[in-house]
């Protein structure tokens, strides 16, 4: 167990030394500092009476904004930003973890240690997941606490959305690990992982596409892709509903997507355990 933790710890340190995560941590810190020191909200009778940014009054135009609505709006905006930009940055920053591990001279050393190949592979996976979790927790947790402290409104939308974001990353990471161990290429890992997003968007509206097709094979192929690939668009919608505090229409995308991520990870373990290095 201590050796597995050493792999996780090593992966976290390796990732945190990268400019992408340092920049993300810096931006997160700046966002939190702005909320702490530069944003002043006066709440009267559950509505925003006045708002100041860096000491200057913000023109509210006479409209009465319920503070509940404002907090939900900020949290939804933050969650949407993290689901898009945050995930893209995370994929970019962690795509090389497997190819780096498989570099000649490094993989030899790791495989000569008293640690099974599955443990080494899973340690790498858990390390990458932990790095993104730490970053996400820092920003999401920080924003949620500060907004609650400043407005007195404690909504569970942002933390719940954060969970869906980290789950989506965990699923994509499983796919990245498989692509990484098969191709040993960071760029191919990034390209294929990014490709999942537009593909998921396309598959989400597959019914509109398949009605225009006559070939049964093509329809079966698209349906097959829909059932096999993760439902990133569905997870995005679910995340949005949670962030906005709306009733969730379906949790179904979670099950099939988790299955996809787990299958990719398991396949990655099998490939890694059988390959010569």
């Amino acid at each position: 167990m201590s050796r597995l933790l050493a792999v996780v710890d090593g992966t976290i340190r390796e990732s945190m030394a990268k400019f992408t995560f340092l920049a993300f941590l810096g931006m997160s810190t700046l966002t939190l500092l702005i909320i702490v020191f530069a944003v002043n909200l006066d709440v009267v009778d559950g509505a925003l009476a006045a708002a100041r940014l860096f000491g200057k009054d913000i023109e509210l135009g006479g409209t009465r904004i319920a503070i509940d609505t404002l907090v939900t709006g900020i949290q939804t905006g933050m969650a949407g930003f993290l689901f898009g930009v945050g995930l893209f940055l995370s994929i970019f920053a962690t795509a090389n973890l497997v190819p780096v591990m498989l570099e000649k001279g490094y993989v030899d050393l790791l495989l000569s240690k008293p640690l099974s190949r599955p443990a080494l592979f899973l340690g790498r996976y858990l390390g990458a997941l932990a790095v993104v979790l730490i970053n996400l927790f820092y920003l999401v947790g920080g924003v949620w606490v500060l907004l609650g402290w400043k407005t007195g409104v404690w909504k569970s939308g942002l933390p719940a959305a954060g969970l869906i974001i980290i789950l989506t990353y965990a699923i994509i990471l499983g796919f990245m690990m498989l692509v990484g161990v098969v191709t040993r290429s960071s760029s191919i890992t990034i390209m294929l992982s990014y490709f999942l997003f537009p593909l998921a968007g396309f598959l989400a509206v597959r019914d509109n596409v398949t009605v225009m097709l006559t070939s049964k094979t093509a329809i079966a192929f698209i349906d097959g892709l829909y059932h096999v690939l993760p439902k990133i668009a569905g997870l995005g919608l679910l995340m949005g509903e949670l962030a906005m505090g709306k009733p969730v229409s379906t949790y179904a995308p979670i099950g099939s997507s988790v299955l996809f991520g787990a299958a990719c990870l398991a396949l990655g373990v099998v490939v890694f355990s059988r390959k010569d290095y």
């Binding site: 201590s2 050796r3 050493a6 792999v7 710890d9 090593g10 340190r13 390796e14 030394a17 570099e103 000649k104 001279g105 490094y106 993989v107 030899d108 050393l109 790791l110 495989l111 000569s112 240690k113 008293p114 640690l115 099974s116 059988r274 010569d276 290095y277």
Partner: protein
Amino acid sequence: MLFLRNFGPFPAVSIIDAILCLASGKPLSTEAAITVEDLAKTFRTGWHSAPVRALDGVSLSVGRGEVFGLLGPNGAGKTTLVKVLLGITFADSGTATILGKKAGDVATKARIGYLPEGHRYPLHLTGEGVVRWFARLSGVPSREIGPRTRRLLARVGLERWAGVRLRKYSKGMVQRLGMAVALVHEPEVLFLDEPTDGVDPLGRAEIRRVLLEEKAKGTSIFINSHLLSEIERTCDRVAVVAHGKILRVGTVADLTDKGLSYRVDAGAVPPAVLAALREKAPSVTATNGLVHLRVRSLEELNACLDALRSSGCLLREVWPEKSTLEESFIQILEGEEARP
């Protein structure tokens, strides 16, 4: 030397070996450190390229506390053999054991140290960070990691560089750091692939010193190297490998032995005496004041020496002629190439 027991083809365990093992806390055992039997491995690199037979029925054994060298040209299969022994590459057939366990056994790896050729460490870490991290991966108890790391960095001459990030290290320094990483869990078997690659002569001497210290502790050492002089100075036994096959195994003395050839320092030997010697031995030459004799038996050698003495020449020194390891190595390889 008094032997407790002579175990098959392996060097016998002596009283001195036993005392050294007990002093270092390592278990005394007569079992082989490494055994390899009929190991074969073929690499298939692509659909169109021909398969490469990296190991072709390799068999050898390395005893406990022995320093064993593997010599061979590039692509001979040396690194593949080490990788198979460590479970980094899987053999197609044959068997291999380390410390009595199947090669690649995860638990046994805690007793094995490895310095691969062209090793890479995480560049964001300091030298101390690298040794500490690999100590954790090797299962060294946490309370021992700090003292061991400092001790080892001092031992390989890197104590002043302990806090410096690896990207500032020279190739020789990284190589010395690799030695520290390989030794941090106090292994019983040590695999070194080109340990002195890129190291200056002073660094090479330091690495050699560390190896000899490890040997004195009873560690079994398996070295792959192109540097024949290093092998000659450190190894008890040597194997020459080419095209995935072991061509010759023996001590350095065995490999460099030229048979019944001798050099005699007898001052200036008159031509008439040399002519008389040529009637007694099949080959007699004189160069730089030395007489080179190739004889068929020790009786012939003594007859030649008697002839020199009786002709008034004073014998100063007589010694058997040896090849250098490099000469022997080339000779063995040329013999293999010439084989149909």
